[in-house]
Symmetry: C2
Subunit: 345 residues, 2 copies
């Protein structure tokens, strides 16, 4: 038997989750030599992705939302890249790299019935791009950026886009794609290091929302107003941005991280702008747009190879770091895309 | 010389406007016998329309918004139906009824340069439908209902629509059109008389938001949730509705009358639903959609003639009643579409 650590969801949090209380890493075992039923295969997890939306899944199962609640005392799950290490399924060969929604554990026995939870993604093995990018810039967060910007945001050359949480996994891709599409790109982030990074990757302006006045900073950074707001934070930032939006502006509702860990949500007082300026505020979820993935990969893989899109990551080592890594994401402690490296490649 | 009373905008209000202070009716004169320059014509105002959006025009000219500010000490203006009583323009013949944005005065001298502010609408004279309907059910408010419901709301048979201020000029048309399109139709209004009226014109459910609990009432009236919210009021109602919206629901941002006359706008605390349910909140202005007017009239005129769409009005008599009529609209004192009858037909 082989040791197989798992990250369990153990308690519903009411504020920020705590490692050891709401999430626990437990040692389990798996028999990697046991025969596989027809269509089954075994995946060794290489990297796993922790993302802000997971906080919404840490809820009681009765509360409905766009993504299902995590099951109590079961492994959490999310986007992973793994390697097929044993297979009785012709579509998944030993040595293939796979991508999909997997349990947070070192080894996963995928049954035939669940075989389609992964797709083969051997670019993660062969392209020379770091494997971790395939749960980041080239994974769900990257596709989220692409769908949100192009399908929901409908950008036009010369417009101004403002992105909150701009150094995050999604934000940094949105900004660089928008720049390539000819927009003026402005971002906010929570530290001077993050702000400096944004300027090095082509943002026209960026500010630290913790130390600078949001209203003034936006007025200076967006002299022609804001046409698209890529919304990752909600709350006061949204309230201020609405007053700066141009007529027919669009708010791309990707996330509202400032509201995830509070029992007292912020009251936004500027919604009159919706009518006065004919704004469109639209929430979306990337899984509604699977059709966009092929064109996304085709467009973005070369940009990354050529260095035209940069990608900042924070990589923590070992599956046992997963709970803290998620808390760091929710608190903005990490810098860029947070990934957990589960196995050495 | 003929007496020609005008309604002037005389002071910017900070709360509800007051007749005599922010709007004043003054007596002017006009020489109806003076010769007309090439392309000019004279219009006798028959009915004029006062509508909630006018509150937004009673502002300082420096503040930009979707409709221009009224000019201080000049006649207010809005939608009117008038009769051409003298003409030196071949497109406007004596006896024609015209519709358009006109100054609030008994007689208007339209210069050649401004000739297109009116269109000939002889249905208002010939169809047997009351002239006042042509600034209401068949005027700007009716077209607003049509554009908001069909172009912005994108209704599907079997869905549930909730309409606030549902007995108003726009709301009653939205509800009856939505019913004809196979939706479940729910409305709120501010008196029991208005609620009873809504039930007589086919609303499936209606409640008095002043005396009934909005949250409970909506839960009872919308057992399958809300797919479309036709937003006329804003504030607390919007906050509650967002919690009841279905996935991919749409909020048609037509107006937010609860927020027009206050310096302390309401903070809406439920915007997290935008992301969680992939909602679309979209503001619009009817003048962005002139292309919809011909099909609107073609569809709705027969429905009104056949009695399949009913229309409640409050008609005040005489141009001097205009300021109070507008205040009544803003306070919800009137019932249905508020019209001012300026001249006997």
């Amino acid at each position: 038997m082989t040791s197989n650590s798992q990250v369990l969801f153990t308690k519903v949090p009411t504020a920020y989750p705590q490692p050891g209380e709401h999430m626990q890493v437990v040692k389990s075992t798996i028999d990697l030599d046991a025969p596989l039923a027809d269509g089954d295969y075994l995946v060794k997890t290489l990297v796993l992705s922790v993302d802000p939306y997971m906080r919404g899944r840490m809820r009681s199962a009765e509360v409905k939302s766009y993504s299902p609640a995590f099951e109590l005392n079961k492994p959490m799950n999310g986007h992973v890249v793994g390697e097929v290490i044993k297979s009785n399924n012709p579509d998944f060969k030993v040595g293939d790299y796979v991508y999909g929604n997997g349990p947070f554990e070192e080894y996963t026995h995928v049954t035939a019935a669940a075989a389609k939870r992964f797709v083969v993604r051997n670019e993660a093995r062969d392209s020379g791009i770091p494997v971790s990018y395939f749960v980041g810039a080239l994974g769900m967060p990257g596709l989220t950026a692409y769908v949100g910007l192009y399908i929901i945001g409908q950008p036009k050359k010369g417009e101004t886009i403002f992105i909150s949480a701009a150094s995050g996994a999604v934000g940094q891709i949105v900004g660089q794609l928008a720049k390539q599409s000819g927009l003026r790109v402005v971002g906010s982030a929570g530290s001077d290091d993050k702000v400096n990074y944004l300027k090095t990757i082509g943002f026209d302006a960026a500010f630290n929302y913790k130390t600078q006045d949001i209203n003034q900073s936006l007025s200076q950074a967006c002299p022609d107003g804001i046409d698209i707001y890529f919304e990752n934070v909600g709350g006061e930032t949204l309230e201020i941005v609405l007053t700066k939006m141009n007529v027919k502006g669009r708010v791309v509702g990707c996330g509202m991280i400032s509201q995830y860990n509070t029992q007292s949500p912020y009251g936004v007082k500027t919604l009159m702008n919706l009518v006065g300026k004919r704004l469109r505020l639209e929430g979306f979820i990337v899984s509604d747009h699977p059709e966009a993935e092929p064109e996304f990969l085709e467009k973005v893989i070369p940009l990354i190879k050529e260095g035209k899109i940069k990608f900042q990551e924070t990589i923590s080592e070992g599956i046992e770091t997963t709970p803290q890594a998620l808390v760091d994401v929710l608190k903005g402690v990490n810098f860029g895309k947070q990934v957990v490296k589960v196995a050495n490649l």
